[in-house]
């Protein structure tokens, strides 16, 4: 072929994910993600506090429908996410490699992420049976306690484990009927954005998972203090961060879940107790009589 040159590749625009749509940040800001050779991989959205507030509105809107969806349906949707991730494994491995992760480790991480989704898909219609109770009260009442989702959860996803850590935290939140707003790893943001595309194609209703890219230093306060967020999960930071999160969280008595120093590749990286942490126990009484 005369004058042949290498094909000009088509670069991907990495955007944020709010309410089932892929907008750019409303702030118009970006940060450069560089490869180890210094070349630019992407201009990543530097999500703003306004983006976060919009995402909370989307998450709250989605909560009613998602929390009312049957456990079987939620399980199938989580399984579907795993199916699509499996089909796009190569893309995720490439993205991890592009961001400096070894190919061997990248493969392992993608496979573990798929398996983790399958794990939680299977829990969808079982954790309730593990954690609920019929309570033998002394009076003539039927009394039972069941789990219900806490509501909207904000999640500061792990910096180091950009796909497995992300999936390991999102899955137990949403399998229990919560909706969430997530801040992806700032150093390794690509997989989170691509994972949003997987979610989008997996029948996860818009708004159930919202993913922002940006900086925890800028957004943690907002994630912790927002009055329409019921729980916050964070995975990094020193005692100063922990203190700041809890002080802000007290504004509306948020549930605060610190998952720092968690090895997401370990056995303890998955558990039905992680589902129960963003659940509320509801107890119902009714008289027994004629």
């Amino acid at each position: 072929m005369a004058g042949s040159t290498a094909r000009v590749p088509v670069a991907k625009t990495y955007k944020i994910y709010i309410g089932g749509k892929f907008p750019r940040t409303e702030s118009g800001r970006y940060f450069k993600l560089n490869a180890s050779d210094g070349s630019v991989i992407a201009n990543v959205c530097q999500g703003s506090r306004k983006d976060f507030r919009n995402a909370v509105v989307a998450a709250r809107s989605a909560f009613g429908g998602w929390s009312a969806a049957s456990a079987y349906l939620r399980g199938q949707i989580l399984y579907r996410i795993a199916e699509l991730l499996e089909g796009r494994s190569d893309q995720f491995v490439s993205e991890l490699v592009l961001q400096g992760v070894s190919r061997r480790k990248a493969k392992k991480e993608v496979v573990a992420s798929i398996d983790r989704l399958i794990y939680y898909a299977g829990w969808s219609d079982k954790y309730q049976q593990i954690f609920s109770a019929v309570n033998p009260v002394s009076s003539a009442h039927f009394n039972f306690s069941v789990l219900e989702p806490t509501g909207v959860v904000s999640l500061l996803a792990p910096e180091d484990s950009s796909l497995l850590g992300l999936v390991s935290n999102i899955a137990p939140i949403i399998v229990g009927g919560n909706t969430c707003v997530v801040l992806a790893s700032a150093q390794l943001p690509l997989c989170a954005v691509s994972f949003a595309e997987v979610l989008h194609a997996s029948d996860v209703p818009g708004g159930v998972v919202n993913i922002l890219t940006g900086f925890a230093e800028e957004l943690t306060e907002q994630f912790a203090s927002h009055m329409d967020v019921n729980a916050i999960v964070y995975c990094d930071g020193d005692s100063e961060v922990a203190k700041n999160v809890q002080v802000r969280a007290a504004d509306n008595v948020k549930r605060v879940l610190a998952r720092c120093d968690q090895d997401w590749t370990a056995d303890a990286g998955q558990s039905p107790y992680l589902i129960s942490e963003t659940q509320e126990t509801k107890t119902t009484w009714h008289p027994i009589g004629g």
Binding site: I130, A133, N135, P136, V137, S138, S139, H141, N143, S145, E148, T150, G151, N230, S239, E240, A242, K243, N244, V245, Q246, V247, A249, A250, D251, N252, V253, R255, D267, A268, S271, Y273, E280, T281, K282, T283, T284, W285, H286, P287
Partner: protein, 490 residues
């Protein structure tokens, strides 16, 4: 059926003869020390404060004002007991001590009930039939858990947390102490507990019971004092777990103060429960449920049904019957067995309630009160309801903690639900209807931790209790209540 024909005639012919519980079988010391390390000791500061009978305004006793130094001694005693006898003891034996406490409380139930009503103002009928029996039942229930904890948490190894600092309110003094102490000890922790400033006496009596039950010294320490004492306990660096029941305002302060520490915490905070009456409900039963929901314990109940929502087509009938029923409620001597509504717990709480009565009227709501007589001495509030209120009224949004009901109406289930959930609180809720499907729809959709359907204000040691949203974090009671006092290791 005419309005008049359904009204019960409660006239002078229905006057009850006085039926006061006697007080000659009880003993209250003139002064109480702090219960630290198994002994009653004088406070370091030498300072005491008086506890008053809110029905007579007479002083019952004086109790110690614990300062930081006393808190430190109590935490040290609790730590020593935790490291020593309590953690080395077989779990079954821990349980036996709790069974002992339950039995002694049952034996001394009449005495405890009488003192509870004297010190806190609640009707003897409630302290006798609810507070004290439930407190004993709570110890009995958790006693049995002590050697069975591994069955409660599949796949996990439960271990105690250490020293629990516990701060409780004045509305159910002994019962709240039981809710806190029983699960903490069953799980192998030791305790420093502070009863409320206005209701310390049954806690001091409980200290006697714990001493008589021969618990190892320091396993339970009880410190009297005010808010500062509570803060010293919460903020003591050697406390591993904080359990608080009280206002949402103080709960938030505690959550902030624990920021950056590794202390585990549970908060059982305020509420503004919706009690929802559908047109197809058994109306007379529902009216009883409304009365029990808001006037139980003078409305000093975090889960009180303080917002009433009545379906429009029966609103007139429900309000009329409610007003009739309010006329029959006897407000007066807490020790009288016929009393329905006792004394407001303190002068300051009465002031708070009265300020809300004014706010309600200033905001344009219509106030109605029972017309019965009130005693001359003491702190009293007539059963009160407000109609013509809207969602934004302060008496609809804020917890009053008194016998004050705000009534609104709704047309459709969805409207009732939306209004019911329009609150930052989420502790409890009630629904009254004869339709099973509607019960489940409502009980699933109300965002609150405890829902009573065709009943209200029922409690049991086996039944988890606690709030959604700003009503708190964690559960007390039942299997779920164990989680608050354990670390689950893999």
């Amino acid at each position: 059926m005419s309005t008049e024909s359904t009204k019960l005639a409660f006239n002078d012919g229905w006057q009850y003869a006085p039926a006061p519980e006697s007080t000659d079988h009880i003993s209250i010391d003139e002064q109480y020390g702090l219960f630290i390390g198994g002994e009653f000791v004088a406070p370091e500061s030498g300072r005491y404060f008086e506890t008053v009978n809110p029905a007579t305004e007479q002083t019952l006793s004086s109790v110690s004002l614990a300062s930081a130094a006393d808190v430190d001694l109590a935490v040290k005693a609790a730590r020593k007991a935790y490291n020593g006898a309590w953690s080395k003891m077989a779990a079954a034996d821990r349980g036996k001590y709790l069974f002992r406490i339950a039995r002694i409380l049952q034996e001394r139930a009449r005495e405890f009930a009488t003192i509870e009503s004297l010190d806190g103002g609640k009707p003897i009928r409630e302290s006798r039939d609810i507070d004290i029996p439930l407190a004993a039942a709570h110890f009995f229930y958790y006693a049995g858990w002590a050697d069975k904890l591994e069955y409660a948490f599949p796949g996990r190894r439960p271990v105690p947390l250490g020293v629990a600092g516990q701060v409780i309110p004045w509305n159910f003094p002994l019962l709240m102490a039981a809710w806190k102490i029983a699960p903490a000890l069953a799980c192998g922790n030791t305790v420093v507990l502070k009863p409320a400033e206005t209701t310390p006496l049954t806690a001091m009596k409980l200290a006697e019971v714990i001493r008589d039950a021969e618990l190892p010294p320091g396993v339970v320490n009880i410190l009297t004092g005010a808010g500062e004492t509570g803060a010293e306990i919460v903020n003591h660096p050697d406390v591993n777990k904080v359990a608080f029941t009280g206002s949402t305002e103080v709960g938030k302060i505690i959550q902030r103060s624990l920021a950056g520490t590794d202390k585990k915490y549970t908060l059982e905070l305020g509420g503004k429960a919706a009690n929802i009456i559908f047109a197809d409900a058994a109306i007379d039963e529902a009216v009883e449920g409304i009365v029990n929901g808001i006037f139980f314990n003078q409305g000093h109940v975090c889960c009180a049904g303080s917002r009433l929502f009545v379906q429009e087509s029966v609103a007139e009938e429900v309000v009329r019957k409610l007003k009739d029923r309010m006329e029959t409620l006897i407000v007066g001597d807490p020790l009288d067995k016929n009393t329905d509504i006792g004394a407001i717990n303190s002068a300051s709480q009465l002031e708070t309630i009265q300020s809300y009565l004014k706010v309600g009227q200033d905001e344009g709501a219509e106030m109605y009160q029972g017309s019965g007589s009130l005693p001359e001495q003491g702190y009293w509030c007539r059963p009160t309801l407000f109609t013509g209120v809207s969602q934004s009224n302060r008496i609809v949004q804020e917890e009053i903690f008194g016998p004050v009901l705000a009534i609104q109406t709704f047309r459709t289930l969805e409207e009732g639900l939306t209004k019911a959930n329009n609150t930052p609180y989420g502790l409890s809720g009630g629904v009254w209807t004869d339709k099973g499907a509607k019960i489940f729809k409502m009980t699933q959709q109300i965002r609150a931790g405890v829902i009573w359907a065709n009943t209200f204000n029922k409690f049991d040691p086996t039944s988890p209790f606690g709030g959604y949203k700003e009503s708190g974090v964690g559960r007390e009671g039942g299997l779920h209540g164990l989680g608050a006092y354990l670390k689950l290791e893999t």
